[in-house]
Point group: C2
Chain length 210, copies 2
């Protein structure tokens, strides 16, 4: 695949949606699709689809349409989910539990391998087949078990300190659900999920309908 | 407040972050702040801050800096959270429970007033002080109790049908955690949280660090 290494974050952020649609198309038995047909389904222009795919070498001849399976697998490879990803969850409250038990993640190749909490009443409990470990064990666990992603499902307080700890243990990807705006080195990927921001945006949209 | 009714979604999506920072500043006892100082804290340019605020009439004299409390309250008003918002949660699995028990939402004025599920083993249980009701009661509940927002924490299957039901009951805002891409009338605000997309984006970012 001829790939442009400087692909923008905007394009990267659109890839998961393509992946979702192509997975559904495959499940429906569809083997080939034109950019025009995909465009109609996804409500984006065919030219944007072609431009996005060209960032990664184009994924095959457009005249004949795309091979759905090849296209889906190629995008899975770019997303880094083709061979599976391991993740640990820090903070086993309701949110941590929701993430650890979310079948949609496992279906996409993300496997939760460790649960950590600081609360002694939770440590030792079995949740979704894993025994919750104390946060003091994170470093040793990460050094012994290949871990791609750490999910931060803890409150604002202590989030930066925990991020520093994860980075020094060798974690390369942090999925941050805390409200903290974290500082991590450029060698570490960070993705924030600010649920409160999303909820406030919705509130604002409903307000503006009036 | 002189407000431009055609403010773009991009600006609206930035408001919650301003709100968060201003709330923290207030908690730290800060009463006035210049766009320059806010810019340094938030890592956005002072000119973008001024442009964003000008969409809503400017929020006061820049020479003297902004009054933090007035600015925060004005943004809260635009976000529609000044007088509180009520929300119901459809689907009381781990995710629904996490949303209903998330203190950060309550702190921002969002109050969960009803929990609904279709699973008979969950209906009737008390969770975070509310008794879970059967989904068949949603329509009656919404008609009798002012409800601003419905949180869709159910799987893909049945999500569109549920959205249609919520719209016909009079709900004006849907916070969609299901993977379904929903169709709702223009008179209803929709905000999607595609957690899998966010996780795949993170995976892609870590892949590209290599």
């Amino acid at each position: 695949m001829r790939e442009n290494k400087t692909v923008s974050n905007v394009v990267i952020r659109r890839l998961p949606r393509y992946y979702r649609y192509l997975t559904d198309l495959l499940a429906d038995g569809k083997t080939r699709i034109s950019s025009k047909e995909l465009s109609r389904k996804m409500h984006v222009t065919a030219s944007q689809i072609r431009q996005d795919f060209n960032c990664f070498g184009g994924f095959g001849q457009q005249g004949y349409g795309y091979n759905v399976e090849y296209l889906r697998d190629s995008i899975a490879e770019i997303l880094g989910i083709k061979n599976g990803r391991t993740m640990i969850i820090i903070g086993v409250g309701n949110l941590g539990r929701a993430v650890s038990g979310y079948s949609a993640f496992e279906k996409r190749g993300f496997k939760t391998t460790g649960l950590f909490d600081i609360n002694e009443t939770i440590v030792g409990k079995e949740i979704n087949g894993l025994t919750v470990m104390h946060e003091s064990c994170i470093d040793a666990f990460v050094r012994e078990n290949k871990t791609d992603i750490a999910v931060l499902a803890i409150p604002h307080t202590g989030a930066q300190e925990m991020a520093d700890k994860l980075v020094s243990a060798g974690i390369k990807g942090i999925w941050n659900f805390s409200h903290a705006e974290l500082n991590v080195p450029q060698s570490v990927a960070l993705e924030n999920v600010h649920l409160s921001d999303s909820l406030m945006t919705l509130s604002c949209k409903t307000e503006r309908l009036k």
